[in-house]
Symmetry: C2
Subunit: 388 residues, 2 copies
């Protein structure tokens, strides 16, 4: 097991009706900025629940944080924060709203000239101040509600960058499984796949005798298999399946299974390029990369692929090469069972053309990822050419 | 899944040599009280590592915190804290030292007349102030290094009580697997059994569709099975097995697997009486109760016993009564494989006599435990009569 630090002070308040607890979670004298996305919270009743809980608070709002939150949008919120002397940020939404709010919390107190430096120069870990953040989670997927990470886009510069800081851990996150009831099936599918890939990025590398983390990761993967079909049911939704869906997404990326082990994150890196260039949803981009990346890296990842197949996908054949084949097939089949395609061609994209374009895109940013830092833009292209 | 809150702000610093990091973890101007137990840390080099890391700090010390830490001993430390204006407590030891330090941290700032009220009247959750605590863990077992619980004895009153408070979460806990190298085999065995039973107390009850928590609990149980024999090796000790042993004990009782599910804790309740009356070590007391408690409650616990057997102990026979039989036998066999007895008779105790005495002891304290609050002193006696 590798050495590590683990620290995660976010308070989770979990259960139906827990949005009403906001009232006591935010200091009574706080000047609160409610941040949200495209406005679905005004249709599904969540906005009303939040406003009702905070009717005695001084409440401001900022809507319109887009998927892959844009620096320019977030800087408008920073301006609002400063103008109104906001001292508490309440993110009501999914990963994009929470990630955007994390940036706003740190940028609002940043003294430097250009707040983009926070992201581009990785200042997250050095800055000491950030506004406190609370979260009402409406779309489980990214785990941002219980981690210190944030991914921000800068459309003007054509960049998508992440930063991390202990200062942006949410003080609390409210997880009400009923908040997922209005989600379209496709977004639940995306959330499940996103969480599944988060786990594999931290697990499917090479063994370092981290038995505890491996078993925890496998447990979460098995949980996703167990609940996926029930969680996807929309009419009517199943409370417990939604509760497990919500909680497994949080646990997939709250740092616990990732401590003390090597991590990969190349599927995410290649996927980000597919989202930027072709508009695939984040989870869609992951699903068209991962199975082919595993084929491509099957020798380097052999030991973990065998373990994953045996323990999670019930592939127990003795012949190793056959077990690895069946394991990757079973993974794809699982994604298909949720209605998630695993090829570029399923989206009408030409793998050869995509490979070429993504390679150029990744070369421009000096891409190297993977647990051995040996997946380059050239490898990404080779992987994408297989995605058919 | 039941509603829940989860909150755990303890920072874990994990790895060989991490004791040296104490220097930066404790504020330079702090007046530090180092608390420890019987003095083994002066023989195994850990005291020297701590003293070396803190050579520029103002350091006081208080040794002699006994197993099942006694109120009278802890109040001596409280006196020392007040006299020397201590403002940081550093617990170097196992569960008893850490639990004792948690009490000292809250009792030192308590304004009421009788600090025993903190424990006897359950004031833990209402008190707002406690001194900050740091931990160097030397004996993995109880999980106290990453939770808000503490168990304190009062030998004068013949009581053993627990309290919980968010204020006593350690600010940090240093987990250096090499700190376990000087432990006798028996204490490692005890730690593994203690952690295993902690998991079962939170898992082996009745299903509430908490799929994530179930899979996490099963993952930790499987990890213990996987590492136990290697962890017990002493000559030479195996670093990774010790690292997994240490980390699994922490994860067994850091609240994560226990949120949103019913909990039992009757094995612990009955075990405490056996420790009080006959001096069995805590883990020994658990192992002579648990298998028989499971026989006794096999109908009520049927669904979880079947799941436990199938997923953890590889008992997959279709006939349910047979699978439950084999599951409980396999659990006992696992304890035996670590050299841990599972009967009172193995300690030369007469089950009938013990049953009678424990019943009286538990009746006096109004004992009721179990996930249905239906295990009484009479049930405890019936369970102990089987332990032969």
């Amino acid at each position: 097991m590798n050495d590590f630090q683990f620290y995660n002070p976010t308070r989770i308040i979990f259960g139906a009706g827990s949005i009403a607890k906001l009232k006591k979670l935010i200091p009574g004298k706080a000047r609160v900025l409610l941040l949200y996305g495209g406005g679905s919270i005004k249709k599904n009743g969540i906005y009303m629940q939040v406003a009702d809980a905070l009717r005695k608070h001084e409440l401001f709002e900022f809507g319109g944080i887009e998927p892959n939150p844009d620096y320019a949008t977030l800087m408008k919120a920073v301006k609002l924060v400063k103008k109104n002397k906001i001292d508490f940020l309440l993110a009501v939404g999914g990963g994009s709203v929470i990630d955007g709010t994390k940036f706003i919390s740190i940028a609002s107190l940043y003294k430097g000239e250009d707040p983009w430096d926070i992201v581009s120069q990785g200042l997250g870990s050095t800055l000491k101040k950030a506004l406190p953040i609370g979260v009402v989670l409406t779309m489980p997927a990214t785990g941002s509600e219980m981690n210190r990470n944030s991914v921000i886009s800068n459309r003007e510069k054509g960049q998508k960058r992440s930063f991390g800081s202990e200062k942006v851990y949410p003080k609390f996150s409210i997880l009400d499984p009923k908040a997922t009831y209005s989600l379209p099936k496709e977004q639940i599918r995306n959330g499940l796949v996103d969480a599944y890939v988060h786990i594999l990025e931290q697990y499917l590398t090479y063994p370092v005798d981290a038995v505890v983390q491996d078993r925890q990761a496998e447990g979460l993967l098995l949980a996703i298999h167990e609940i996926a079909q029930q969680a996807l049911k929309t009419d009517p939704p199943n409370y417990d399946a939604r509760a497990n869906y919500m909680w497994v997404c949080t646990n997939a990326l709250n740092h616990l299974i990732g401590v003390g082990v090597p991590q990969d994150w190349s599927t995410h890196g290649i996927g980000h390029a597919l989202t930027a260039l072709y508009g695939l949803a984040h989870a869609e981009s992951l699903a068209v990369v991962l199975p082919w990346l595993l084929w491509y890296k099957r020798e380097q990842k052999q030991e973990k692929l065998l373990q994953f197949g045996y323990r999670v996908l019930d592939q127990k054949m003795q012949k190793y090469s056959e077990r690895i084949d069946r394991t990757i097939e079973a993974l794809s089949a699982f994604f298909h069972s949720m209605g998630m395609p695993t090829t570029l061609t399923a989206y009408g994209l030409d793998p050869d053309k995509v490979a070429e374009e993504v390679q150029a895109h990744l070369e421009a940013e000096g891409f190297t990822r993977g647990e051995h830092r040996d997946i380059t833009a050239v490898d990404a292209a080779a992987i994408l050419r297989m995605s058919r």
